[in-house]
């Protein structure tokens, strides 16, 4: 089969599941991150910063040895050079041979008294209040100096986009491997958690300032949507990715009041109204919230990767929410790391027996494969090979 036909076959297999058709077989899409680079013996730092062909080389090494139907992305998602050129010690990320890391606790960038300002104009709040607060180079800088910094950052970001395009194009055209995440959109409460208030801060806000936080999140949602519409191309058969970080730290009644509306609003717009494929990484334990998730729209192209080690929990999720979610997951990363090959294959069999019938299922790992310790190559290969060979409908 030629490469372009292979690409089309893989992408269509994925889209068939998303469209709630029965595909030819269960798609295999491991939740792959920087494990790929470690497996291939490629320096993450060199791949992300110096030579985009190293990203391709890592993808080729892996996909030559491990059968799979798609990659989410190449994991090069942080424009590292922007911070580098702003100044020494600027920015919140570092990159080493092993991967990208966040530098310590960074997320408390605003105070609860400022929710009103964010509600009034989130973009202006980000620009005039948060950027000078976060970056030493911007604090007390002249207007002219700020303009220079911004122009450099703009150029660096364009270079970053082009760098990734070089790698991504080679992966799709030369390996026939779809990179299925078209864009990433955070829901507003997760932006607040991850980048603005941190865990302690938002935990207090949920109790002491819920209305202000909610109003600010509504405005932030509009900003995120506006940015998406301004800069993104329609995803076609690819997906819009959203990681969900905050929900499982909320009591169900707080989740219902403060977070679920964001999920519903986003899905109504993207999945229902626009018909896009949407992917939520449902991190941590969602079992206490399944009844509440019944409020989500039905029969859309909506994919949920549930971070559970228990196949029976995924079975219950599919049984109760299968009209709302295409379900993804099933293979515990802990098993890929510590289990025997026989145990891994036994779990694959359970996934196929209990989750595949009727479609609506994509085989994947419950967590992201980041460090090389996250799974032995033998086990990762065994799992993907087994499901590829035995997952036919």
């Amino acid at each position: 089969m030629d490469v372009s036909a292979l690409y089309e076959e893989r992408l269509q297999r994925f889209d068939d599941v998303m469209s709630r058709k029965i595909p030819d077989r269960v798609p295999v899409i491991p939740n792959m991150n920087t494990w790929m680079y470690h497996f291939a013996g490629v320096s993450v730092k060199k791949a992300f910063l110096e030579d985009p062909n190293e990203i391709f080389n890592a993808a080729k090494y892996m996909t030559d040895r491990i059968p799979m139907d798609a990659l989410m992305s190449t994991s090069n998602t942080v424009p590292l050079k922007v911070a580098e050129n702003i100044g020494p010690d600027e920015g919140i990320y570092t990159c080493s041979e092993n991967g990208v890391q966040i530098k310590g606790s960074h997320g408390r960038l605003m105070e609860p008294q400022e929710y009103k300002l964010m509600a009034e104009n989130p973009m202006k709040f980000f620009a005039n209040v948060l950027i000078p607060r976060k970056f030493n180079a911007f604090r007390n800088a002249s207007l002219e100096k700020k303009v220079d910094l911004i122009k450099q950052a703009y150029a660096d970001n364009i270079s970053f986009i082009q760098y990734n395009r070089t790698a991504n194009t080679r992966i799709e055209k030369e390996l026939g491997m779809p990179l299925i995440v078209r864009a990433t959109n955070f829901l507003a409460p997760d932006i607040v958690l991850d980048y603005l208030r941190d865990f302690v801060g938002i935990s207090l806000d949920v109790r002491r300032n819920p209305d202000e936080m909610y109003a600010a999140c509504l405005s932030l949602y509009d900003y995120v949507l506006e940015m998406f519409d301004d800069t993104a191309t329609p995803p076609d058969r690819k997906i819009l990715f959203t990681p969900l970080h905050l929900p499982t730290y909320l009591r169900p009644k707080d989740f219902e009041k403060l977070y679920l509306p964001s999920m519903k609003k986003y899905l109504e717009e993207m999945a229902v109204k626009r018909g896009y494929s949407v992917y939520f990484f449902m991190e941590n334990n969602w079992m206490p919230y399944l009844d509440l998730l019944q409020e989500l729209p039905e029969n859309t192209k909506f994919l949920g990767l549930f971070e559970t080690e228990k196949v029976e929990e995924l079975v219950e999720i599919k049984s109760r929410l299968g009209s709302r979610f295409i379900v993804m997951g099933g293979m515990p990363v802990s098993l890929l790391r510590f289990g025997s090959k026989e145990d891994v294959i036994e779990t694959c069999k359970r996934c196929l027996d209990q989750l595949a019938p009727g479609g609506g299922y994509i085989f994947s790992t419950d967590k992201t494969l980041m460090t090389f310790n996250d799974g032995t190559p033998e086990n990762v290969i065994a799992a993907c090979e087994y499901v590829t060979e035995h997952g036919k409908y």
């Binding site: 998602t77 942080v78 424009p79 922007v82 911070a83 702003i86 600027e90 920015g91 919140i92 990320y93 408390r108 960038l109 605003m110 105070e111 008294q113 400022e114 300002l117 009034e120 104009n121 973009m123 202006k124 709040f125 980000f126 620009a127 005039n128 209040v129 948060l130 950027i131 000078p132 607060r133 976060k134 970056f135 911007f138 207007l143 700020k146 303009v147 910094l149 911004i150 122009k151 950052a153 703009y154 970001n157 955070f186 932006i191 991850d194 980048y195 603005l196 900003y223 995120v224 506006e226 940015m227 301004d230 800069t231």
Partner: protein, 51 residues
């Protein structure tokens, strides 16, 4: 405890700097100003979240 005073207004000139930068880039590169301004909207967000 934060090591800064919380803001009470949206005053500041960083937004203005983004606007000036957009105009200069559009002129220098012969690009459509509206498109550059849209990219700046995203860049502001990236500064806070991904940089």
């Amino acid at each position: 405890m934060a090591d800064y005073e919380y803001a009470t207004t949206l005053d500041g000139d960083t937004m203005e700097a983004f606007e000036i930068a957009a105009r200069q880039i559009a002129e220098e590169k012969g690009m459509d100003l509206e498109n550059v301004e849209k990219s700046m909207k995203k860049l502001i967000y990236l500064f806070v979240t991904r940089i």
